[in-house]
């Protein structure tokens, strides 16, 4: 079994209209090489699920600027003016979700849960259209799971089986999107032989990783 693939093979996995989860927080922990390939292939009408839309020239924002995105599900779009402009002009749909709720929606999908109950958003416009439950006298919103066709993950050290270590604050959404998509591609900053990454440091178990592409720092 060989999970390591070349950029040309990665591009074959990209299709118009896909729902894609991408790791990173304001471009920290975002697989930039995989985004390069999405831009090169220029697939269209993507739905992107991510913490934010990065910056116009860095991270997920580059896909927005390149006009490849139909819909964004994110907690924050303020650092990329292009996202706001396209939204206001009605050219791109944006669904804003509180950050803590968004990660739990992703986690729920990957963990086989039917949703999560959170107090976040009660009494705000976030509760519109959502089921509200009262438990022990406190109100909660039911946030439903969210899945994707493809997850694009950035790992700091990845072994050839896909066991992945994420350094510092690059973790963010990465370990959870790796469970919530049909196909998981990890961009490896450093690729090592299987067994060279301590199993104690495998934050994402390689069994859930479908493909690995060598990136670069």
């Amino acid at each position: 079994m060989n999970k390591i693939i070349k950029p040309e093979q990665v591009k074959e996995l990209f299709k118009d209209g896909m729902t894609v989860m991408i790791g990173g927080f304001l471009a920290c922990g975002t697989p930039e090489k995989l985004i390069d390939l999405l831009i090169e292939k220029n697939v269209k009408d993507l739905t992107i699920i991510a913490n934010d839309t990065g910056f116009p020239d860095r991270g997920i924002g580059r896909l927005v600027v390149n006009g490849q995105v139909k819909k964004v599900v994110a907690s924050h779009i303020g650092t990329n003016p292009e996202t706001g402009r396209l939204m206001n002009e009605g050219k791109m749909e944006v669904e804003l979700v509180p950050q803590g709720s968004l990660i739990e929606k992703v986690r729920a999908a990957g963990a086989g849960l039917g949703g999560v109950l959170t107090p976040t958003g009660v009494g705000t416009i976030v509760e519109e259209g959502k089921e509200k439950l009262t438990i022990n006298g406190k109100e909660y919103l039911l946030e439903l799971p969210v899945k994707a066709d493809l997850a694009l993950v950035l790992g700091t050290v990845v072994d050839e089986f896909g066991n992945t270590f994420y350094k510092g604050t690059t973790k963010n959404f990465n370990p959870y999107i790796a469970l919530a998509a049909d196909t998981v591609i990890v961009e490896a900053e450093e690729l090592v032989k299987t067994g060279e990454l301590s199993p104690d440091l495998a934050m994402t178990p390689g069994v859930v990783v479908d493909y690995i592409m060598k990136g670069a720092l």
Binding site: N88, G100, R107, K167, F173
Partner: protein, 221 residues
């Protein structure tokens, strides 16, 4: 009247820092609230969270020492202190919603006399998104609004917020360059005022009703 914006922010940050307690875990919002970290009282250990995935956030790295793997919630390079820890977003918001964050300090577009806060959207104009603000305001044990008293000369402390809310009834304390206001069940209580202002001035710059007792302390800044 305090017209110098830089001075106003300094006054606010210094006064908010007096609310810190030894051993607390605190989350500071981007902008003015971040300045609070500069005024931690000597001898006190306060741990700061950055909701993108760390507690024990340290200062900005020296030039050349930046690590692309280590940033704060504003996307800037940062460092971690020896007692700190890194984690993913689920852990980060478990800390926030789970009541493990003792205090959060945020800015506001509007705050009202029921403790409602609006700070994430001006429909049709400015739509940055709520990021982690909704989770922080509903999850942190204590919510402090740190902001300049007015915006473009208009009151920001209102009877009722007009903008979409960040959270309902969660604000505990409002600190501006003019005064300190506590949110209580009875309404907004004026607790302290800056030496360079008057009750009349504060009232004229505040739309909300203020409960004013005879003794009002001078802000210790």
């Amino acid at each position: 009247m305090i017209t110098d914006s830089k001075l106003a922010k300094e006054i606010i940050a210094k006064r908010v820092a007096k609310e810190l307690r030894d051993g607390q875990l605190v989350n500071l919002g981007i902008g003015l609230p971040t300045m609070v970290a500069n005024y931690v009282p000597e001898g006190m250990m306060v741990t700061f969270q950055s909701e993108n995935g760390m507690v024990g956030m340290g200062p900005t790295p020296a030039p050349g020492e930046e690590d692309v793997h280590i940033t704060n919630a504003g996307g800037q390079y940062v460092t971690i202190l020896p007692h700190g820890a890194y984690f993913d977003s689920s852990m980060s918001f478990s800390l926030i919603r789970g009541g493990h964050v003792d205090m959060t300090v945020l800015g506001a577009l509007e705050v009202d006399q029921e403790g409602n806060l609006a700070n994430w959207i001006v429909p049709g104009k400015m739509v940055p998104g709520m990021g982690g603000a909704m989770d922080l305001v509903s999850g942190a044990r204590r919510v402090i609004v740190a902001m300049q008293h007015t915006g473009k000369g208009q009151p920001k402390i209102l009877k009722k917020c007009t903008l979409p809310l960040t959270a309902r009834g969660e604000v505990d304390l409002i600190v501006t360059e003019l005064c300190v206001i506590e949110v209580t069940k009875a309404g907004l209580v004026l607790k302290e005022m800056h030496k360079d202002t008057t009750i009349e001035e504060i009232k004229s710059l505040t739309e909300a009703d203020l409960i004013i007792f005879e003794e009002i302390k001078t802000m210790d800044v």
